[in-house]
């Protein structure tokens, strides 16, 4: 039996390759994700190990506000410089250096634009001299407060050199400095993990990066010989007291890497999500291939039964075939995944500017994942066809039976049940009735909905395929192709369903994002009463900001009524992390942002007063007059009295508004956006250039009109959409393989018929036309299903988000049309090889009997 299986496998190399390819792609995605994150993870480990190699023990102050990777930046609290003396006095300390190191030193390059790092921090600090790690490549150390040294990567990216006079944005607005030196790192590296660094003199660094004089935010300690890092850590901690966090260099590097890996793990999960989609589509494909193979081998399998093989042996034979395909595909997928992971890691390291990659590794998770996924999916998909194969009666070997059309009742009922289950899960998940498992419930609902619709597809396929094919009715080969596509509803359905998944997901996500975009834009248009907006496109974790002095100057321009700057940050209010904002002109809240009061007065704020949103007030049981303890990123905790409550809107996302003065303690101490309202009758074109001129020293932002601002904000979603589309394109590629596979197998199955058609005068081109029409009908049918299911899913999500302010359902008709057109092209492309094969069929060989 084993030999027979193996032989039949080898006799079907093409099928093997095609159905295996889907598994290969899925496995590739899974293992590639693991290889990528593993490699990047170890690279970062190495970078942090290097960065903290010369730190035996490190001192930092307890953070005022602990935030995680997704909430924003952790601001290290400054502490008095005197602490360094305290540390020096601790026995066992050989050397203690007070350092300043903080994100947010943005150098303006030779082109007048801020140099961005696209992710890694842009550190600003005090120059504490060369070390084993840091070495000056050119120039000298900074001696005056207007002198800086920068790392080589930054010099390269900004196209600046020693001697240049450059602007740097810090906590303070733009200031000019002379570059007096360029430094690099051991191992001839220009940057550690893509980080840009600007080093000032210590007083300048304290003022610009920490905002205070005579403070540091780290103390780097070298231990005396014979003193262990751990014991020194403990004695330093004892000397400094509870307000400080003392760690060994190893701890520090491990903690820093752990934070980054949290981000990587998130990235990994996203990649695995796309792998899951690819595998779902692959499952359809394998299921279909095995079904067709079993159908075509009916005679052969019956013969095996006739000569004494048991049903179990038949199942075994089919499953064995699946295992063989699964194994080969897993190995290939793993190898391809390794390649893809390496390639992505390389690309990432290039984008991140000088991330030195650790040696590529094959993590156990990649290997286990690859084989588990590859084998399990293949065998699972082959199980149903295997069971069917076992039911073939031995007598089938003696008869020349065309497999009769099995009724679709069972599969339709099953489809209806599964679809209903999916819909129920979606309803529960979206309606917020799934306690704690919302995401899992929604994903489960989507999965069940897909499977259910796939099961319903055979029933739908008859009328829809007939309608689609009507286009080709006037043309005989077209009509034949259409009839062929309606011939085996199950086969057509699964092939189309595979395409449906990818297109449905893209359509669904597009519906959601477009609806969100349109709703928010509409809301912005309706509520924001500002003609001009000062804003910039965000290209890293840190939003662009500008000098608040610009606002006062803008207000002085004739015709400007209000010029408000908006600050934002995460704060801790009553133990909970909360988004807070501050305005340079509190009255703008109502007059510019269209926010309405539900209680109290929201037009003005005394220094000890705050406003909260109606949502926050409701959930925390607050009213006008309540007091709240607020801890910001900097400074001490302060108590504010609620003087007003404003109506929550989807647009104005902050839950609390603090007085302007509080923004000094925000992690970004400058306004992020500015809104300018003009006096009636003032021409925008008169004011805009004057505001633009004021922004000369704030190159991160520009002044645009409201429509431009809304477009700019909305376009941030476009990038996300594009990324999702690219990743989901893989699922569509797999579906195309499915169409190729189905067609190739059908062509094989219909050799005799094709021979006959050729014998009675069908030209080669007509034969190809016939196969192409079949492919186009199947793929357009799949796209139609996908667009319909996707629009449905998207509409359901939008409906669920109605309370979040997404109140407009936007169906991307244009894009849906594009998908249908694309599907037609996909059909034509998928038909190329099978149709060539069909056209080349040897007429005599196909029809001659014996």
């Amino acid at each position: 039996m084993f030999r027979a299986t193996l032989k039949s496998l080898l006799a079907r190399k093409v099928r093997l390759v095609l159905s295996g390819l889907a598994v290969v792609l899925g496995v590739m995605f899974v293992s590639g994700a693991f290889v990528l994150t593993d490699t990047l993870g170890r690279s970062f480990d190495q970078i942090f190990a290097d960065a903290y190699a010369e730190v035996d023990v490190n001192v930092a102050a307890k953070p005022k506000l602990a935030v995680n990777e997704f909430e924003g930046e952790q601001i290290q609290t400054p502490f008095p410089a005197a602490a360094v003396e305290t540390v020096r006095a601790v026995p066992g300390v050989a050397e203690a250096t007070g350092t300043v190191v903080a994100d947010g030193a943005r150098l303006i390059g030779s082109n007048g634009k801020v140099v961005t790092s696209f992710g890694p921090p842009q550190l600003g600090g005090n120059w504490v001299g060369e070390s084993d790690l840091v070495q000056l490549r050119e120039g000298r150390e900074p001696r005056a407060d207007d002198e800086i040294v920068i790392n080589k990567a930054l010099a390269t990216a900004g196209k600046v050199a020693v001697g240049d006079r450059v602007g740097v944005l810090t906590l303070a607005p733009k200031e000019e400095f002379t570059i007096v030196g360029v430094f690099g790192y051991s191992g001839d590296r220009d940057s550690l993990g893509g980080v840009n660094e600007v080093m000032f003199t210590t007083p300048a660094a304290q003022r610009l990066m920490l905002g205070e004089q005579d403070v540091f935010n780290n103390i780097v300690i070298r231990s005396a010989s014979g003193v262990s890092d751990e014991s020194l850590r403990d004695s330093v901690a004892a000397a400094l007291g509870d307000d400080y966090v003392v760690k060994t260099g190893e701890q520090l590097s491990a903690d820093a890497a752990a934070g980054l890996k949290e981000g990587l793990a998130f990235f990994n999960r996203i990649l695995l999500g796309f792998a899951a989609v690819a595998l779902l589509v692959g499952t359809f494909l394998i299921l279909n291939t095995f079904s067709i193979i079993v159908a075509q081998r009916t005679r052969e399998l019956a013969l095996l039964r006739a000569v004494g093989a048991s049903g179990k042996q038949i199942i075994g034979s089919v499953v064995l075939e699946a295992i063989a395909i699964g194994l080969v595909a897993s190995v290939l997928g793993l190898a391809a995944g390794f390649g893809v992971g390496a390639l992505l890691a390389y690309a990432f390291s290039n984008v991140a500017g000088g991330l030195t990659l650790a040696t590529l590794g094959m993590p156990a998770a990649a290997v286990i994942g690859a084989f588990a996924v590859g084998l399990v999916i293949t065998v699972l998909a082959a199980l149903l066809p295997a069971l069917r194969a076992a039911r073939i009666p031995p007598i089938a070997a003696m008869q020349d039976v065309a497999t009769p059309d099995r009724p679709l009742t069972k599969v339709t009922v099953a489809g209806a049940v599964v679809t209903a289950l999916g819909a129920t899960l979606l309803f529960l998940g979206l309606g917020g009735h799934a306690r704690g498992n919302t995401l899992a419930t929604i994903l489960g609902g989507v999965l069940f909905a897909f499977i259910g619709v796939a099961l319903l597809t055979p029933l739908i396929s008859r009328p829809v395929v007939a309608a689609l094919g009507a286009v080709f009715s006037g043309w005989t080969p077209g009509k034949l192709g259409r009839l062929n596509s309606g011939r085996n509803p199950r086969r057509t359905a699964i092939t189309a369903a595979a395409l449906m998944v990818g297109i449905a997901l893209v359509t669904g996500i597009t519906v959601i994002l477009d609806s969100a975009k349109s709703s928010i834009s509409g809301l912005a248009q309706d509520t924001i009463k500002a003609e001009l907006v000062i804003a910039g496109a965000q290209s890293g974790p840190r939003p662009p900001s500008f000098d608040p002095a610009v606002l006062a100057e803008a207000k002085a321009i004739p015709g400007v009524r209000i010029a408000d700057g908006l600050y934002g940050d995460m704060a801790q209010i009553g133990g909970e992390h909360t988004w807070v904002g501050a305005l340079t002109e509190p009255s703008a809240l109502r007059q510019v942002y269209g926010v309405t009061a539900t209680a109290g007065d929201i037009d003005q704020l005394a220094p000890n007063q705050m406003l909260v949103s109606s949502d926050a007030a409701e959930s925390r049981g607050l009213s006008v007059g309540s007091t709240l303890a607020v801890q910001l990123a900097r400074g001490a905790e302060r108590t504010y009295t609620i003087s007003g409550i404003f109506q929550s809107t989807a647009l104005f996302g902050t839950q609390a508004v603090l007085p302007t003065e509080a923004a000094r303690d925000f992690s970004i101490q400058q306004p992020i956006q500015g809104f300018i309202q003009l006096e009636p009758g003032t021409r925008v074109a008169d004011v805009q250039p004057r505001v633009e001129a004021l922004l000369a020293n704030s190159p991160e932002v520009s002044v645009i009109d409201l429509d431009g601002f809304i477009d700019q904000q909305a376009s941030q979603l476009d990038g996300l959409l594009q990324m999702i589309q690219i990743l989901l394109a893989l699922a569509i590629v797999i579906a195309v393989l499915g169409i190729v596979n189905t067609l190739a197998l059908s062509v094989l199955e219909r050799t005799r018929e094709l021979g006959l058609l050729r014998a009675i005068g069908l030209r080669r081109s007509q034969t190809m036309g016939m196969i192409t029409v079949e492919a186009v009908v199947i793929s357009v049918f799949g796209a139609l299903l996908g667009v319909a299911v996707g629009a449905g899913l998207g509409a359901a999500v939008v409906e669920a988000l109605r309370d979040e302010g997404i109140n407009k359902l936007v169906l991307p008709w244009g894009q849906m049309g594009v998908f249908l057109g694309l599907a037609a092209i996909i059909g034509v492309v998928a038909a190329v090889l099978p149709s060539i094969r069909a056209a080349r069929i040897n007429v005599l060989g196909a029809i001659a009997h014996d």
Partner: protein, 255 residues
């Protein structure tokens, strides 16, 4: 039937010194050894011979389904030898009809659609009067909307015959048309083929190994070992059988 210039009775199909060799070296098989034959218009000719005699090969070569190694083949005034795929397709579409042992109907099409398929592929319309004649002759009027799976073997073969006839080809090649039918259905089909020759002047060349089937033809050509060895005009089942028996003996000695 139409006025032809030149010769008094131009052949519908003609083979001139046709050789067909498969393979090379030790595996070489010579299927046809210089066969020359003419198949007159308006006649029903049977090609007979034992298995391996080359009768099917001869038919395939005549119909342009297979190429000849040497010699030439004509269908009507068309020289088949040397035509490319496009030319052969055109020949099959416009000049030749086929009836196969396996019926070979398209399962997705109704009987009527199957019958009209060659014409619709060629983008031509059927002559309605002739179509009616064909349908009535094969007696399928009440079965026209059925699919092949709903028809008996005999009915399916009659559909196949009608498909070959409706385009009025120069010549119809029938390859063991009764091979898969019981004797009654077989007789129906053969009667029908003979009538289409007698009443409508159709030319039919039929390959068979069944003496009873051959007896329906006007003429029988016997092939053995790749050569034409004998011929009968106005055959009966008995005369065919006798000739076959005579052929078998030397063939066995040779084999």
């Amino acid at each position: 039937m139409t006025a032809t210039t030149g010769q008094p009775a131009p052949a519908a199909a003609r083979a001139s010194d046709v050789w067909k060799v498969y393979g090379s070296g030790e595996a070489q098989v010579i299927a046809l050894r210089g066969v020359s034959a003419e198949f007159e218009r308006g006649r029903f000719t049977a090609i007979m011979g034992p298995s391996g005699s080359g009768k099917s090969t001869l038919m395939h070569c005549l119909a342009g389904l297979d190429t000849v190694t040497r010699g030439t083949v004509h269908v009507g005034e068309t020289t088949v030898t040397g035509l490319g795929d496009a030319g052969l397709t055109k020949l099959r579409r416009d000049k030749v009809g086929f009836i196969f042992q396996q019926f070979n109907l398209l399962p997705t099409l109704t009987a009527k659609e199957n019958i009209l398929l060659p014409l619709s592929i060629a983008g031509r319309k059927a002559d309605p009067a002739w179509y009616d004649v064909v349908i009535d002759t094969v007696g399928l009027r009440d079965r026209l909307d059925h699919r092949p799976a709903q028809l008996s073997g005999g009915q399916q073969q009659r559909v196949a015959c009608a498909r070959a006839l409706v385009a009025r080809p120069e010549v119809i090649f029938a390859d063991e048309p009764t091979g898969n039918l019981d004797s009654r259905s077989g007789a129906e089909v053969l009667n029908f083929l003979r009538n289409s020759v007698r009443e409508h002047g159709q030319t039919i060349v039929m390959v068979t190994h069944d003496p009873t089937a051959a007896a329906y033809a006007d003429r029988v050509v016997f092939l053995a070992d790749g050569q034409i060895v004998s011929e009968l005009i106005e055959p009966t089942a008995d005369t065919v059988l006798d000739t076959m028996k005579k052929l078998d003996t030397p063939a066995e000695v040779a084999g």
